[in-house]
Symmetry: C2
Subunit: 343 residues, 2 copies
């Protein structure tokens, strides 16, 4: 168990290092007004804190730097909540000023503002399209053998995919198809569609239309690889500002990681509510060993959910980011649930 003095010193070191990015020395600490001990005392305490794994040295005679464990402790126990600047709040709310109908626009804007306010990189996950429900299904033929299938969901999202028509398929065949499909698919979530198609719908259609087999298979193939949640980025190059990323290789690896959808998606799991912080080596990806990721979720409509991630150096301004995310998630949720009530 840490003594009060150790807590205080740890806090000062982390706070200071977050600001300055320079190893913190005993003399520097003792000059703070809330500190009443001499440098020598502080050195002793620091030696203890280092032994406990909360601090590290960059070389034998340098000042101290928080370890991942140190940040973890700081985040868990020393993070007295910060209130944010009214100007910043106003800037966040400016996203919602003009009455907007497009969810996508709002999220895009949010990503930009978040990266601007934090000076880190933000990633926003749009609603999980998989869980939208079919509102209307339609098919538009383009030529003799191709057509485009369109699914409108209850939230106004539109999915479309081209597919091949079986030979000799007529316009009236298509019409019959669409009618049956609409009867059977409305209200079904997108992730269930191809199951439903292959099981139930196929049987029904086979009685009405020839080549139903081919048609359905073609359709299933087209809807097979499911739409993923859209990803929006803000401030992709903000990390260039951070001294810890003055190394081209690190930056490159991070940027490449952000181009890889699967990697980005994996930043968000598990998608629980509340604010989650992963620090340095707590991340699975080794490209992220110098990064911290703060994630949270927001709601879209009644049952949809999106997610937010802020990526910065482990020397991140946790206080501020957590506070900002708190405001952002509330405002976003409110705005998107208000404008986007479904049915």
């Amino acid at each position: 168990m840490l003594t009060n003095r150790q807590l205080q010193i740890l806090q000062v070191i982390v706070d200071d290092f977050i600001k300055s990015a320079q190893p913190v020395g005993s003399r520097q600490i003792s000059k703070k007004k809330e500190i009443t001990y001499s440098p020598a005392t502080i050195r002793n305490e620091m030696a203890d804190l280092e032994e406990l794994g909360f601090l590290e040295k960059t070389h034998t005679s340098s000042g101290r730097v928080p370890s991942d464990k140190g940040y973890r402790f700081y985040v868990d126990h020393l993070l007295n909540p910060q209130s944010i600047n009214p100007q910043d709040i106003q800037q966040i709310q400016s996203i919602f000023n003009n009455r907007i109908v497009e969810v996508e626009q709002v999220i895009r804007k949010s990503a930009n503002i978040l990266s601007e306010l934090t000076s880190y990189t933000s990633i926003l996950l749009g609603p999980d399209v998989q869980r939208h429900r079919v509102k209307r299904f339609s098919i538009v033929p383009l030529s003799n053998d191709t057509a485009v299938a369109i699914i409108v969901t209850n939230n106004g999202h539109v999915e479309n995919r081209m597919f091949n028509l079986p030979a000799g398929f007529t316009a009236s065949d298509i019409e019959k198809m669409v009618n049956v499909l609409n009867e059977r698919l409305i209200g079904i979530s997108l992730e269930e569609i191809h199951v439903k198609l292959e099981a139930e719908v196929l049987a029904v259609l086979q009685q009405h239309v020839r080549s139903a087999d081919d048609f359905i298979h073609s359709l299933v193939a087209a809807t097979m690889h499911n739409p993923e949640s859209k990803i929006f980025y803000g401030g992709k190059t903000n990390m260039f500002n951070q001294p810890e990323f003055h190394d081209l290789n690190k930056v490159r690896m991070l940027l490449d990681l952000m181009e890889t959808t699967s990697q980005v998606q994996s930043l968000f799991h598990p998608k629980e509510s509340g604010i989650h912080i992963r620090i340095g080596s707590e991340n699975q990806q080794m490209e992220m060993e110098n990064c911290s990721v703060i994630t949270t979720t927001y709601s879209i409509g009644e049952d949809q959910q999106g997610a937010i991630a802020i990526i910065g150096p482990t020397r991140m301004d946790y206080k501020r980011v957590v506070a900002l995310l708190d405001v952002m998630r509330m405002d976003l949720s409110n705005a998107l649930t208000r404008t986007n009530r479904s049915d």
Copy 2:
């Protein structure tokens, strides 16, 4: 007018510098087997070439480096066409192996392969959606006051936009609307839609439905800012490989530029056919003063056009990139015109 010997020396210098990225000295040149003159002679010629503006020195006693003007001359007069490696051709053609219906997939793949083969950054512009023609127009109501408008084009592209319904608008109102709109809009290109809407369609509708005004205005607002051609990137971080981009600031500016849609679009103007090369300071953007851009176009269907750009350092392997783009544009055009015949 340059002498033959000067031409030869200029060519050797550019070729060598493209390979090595190191200033080329007279001794080094004289060792090439195609060169029969002594270093001293070469030095004299180089001094002349420098005076003419084709070469530069990085410092008083360094070897020579091609200037932008030097590259320009090289590109215009010394670029004997190169044939590319069968393996590379095969890799390009692998894009089209599996029978694909989705244009977008093909383009995305092409971007990746191009960046891989060149080790530069590739940008591909999808078809100019503006010039697609309306195949079907439909409206799906979502709630009492919102609906989504959907336009399917002759190429199977789908545009959709949410918009507000006037108060008290009924399902049968919408049906009437859609009928009229389909009568009037089919065959119109997307860029003409809102003109057509406001002029012709509005007049017709006012006779049939109340609140037609509000409706049309809402619709116009939604379709107002026109869809831009989709942009696909390949190898965004490839420039990290080039020694000229070992400077964080340059890389950052370039990456930021590539996030700005308008800037990227402007790389492609004027969108003429053939292969165009812009070298260093020939680019408008000053972020690109160390870059060269090679652009070309490809066709999609009968009357659609897309564009390709390769961005690299001015010390780019022009020969190879030009050759690759030649193959790529042909193959892409063929593939997309074959699979995508409209109507």
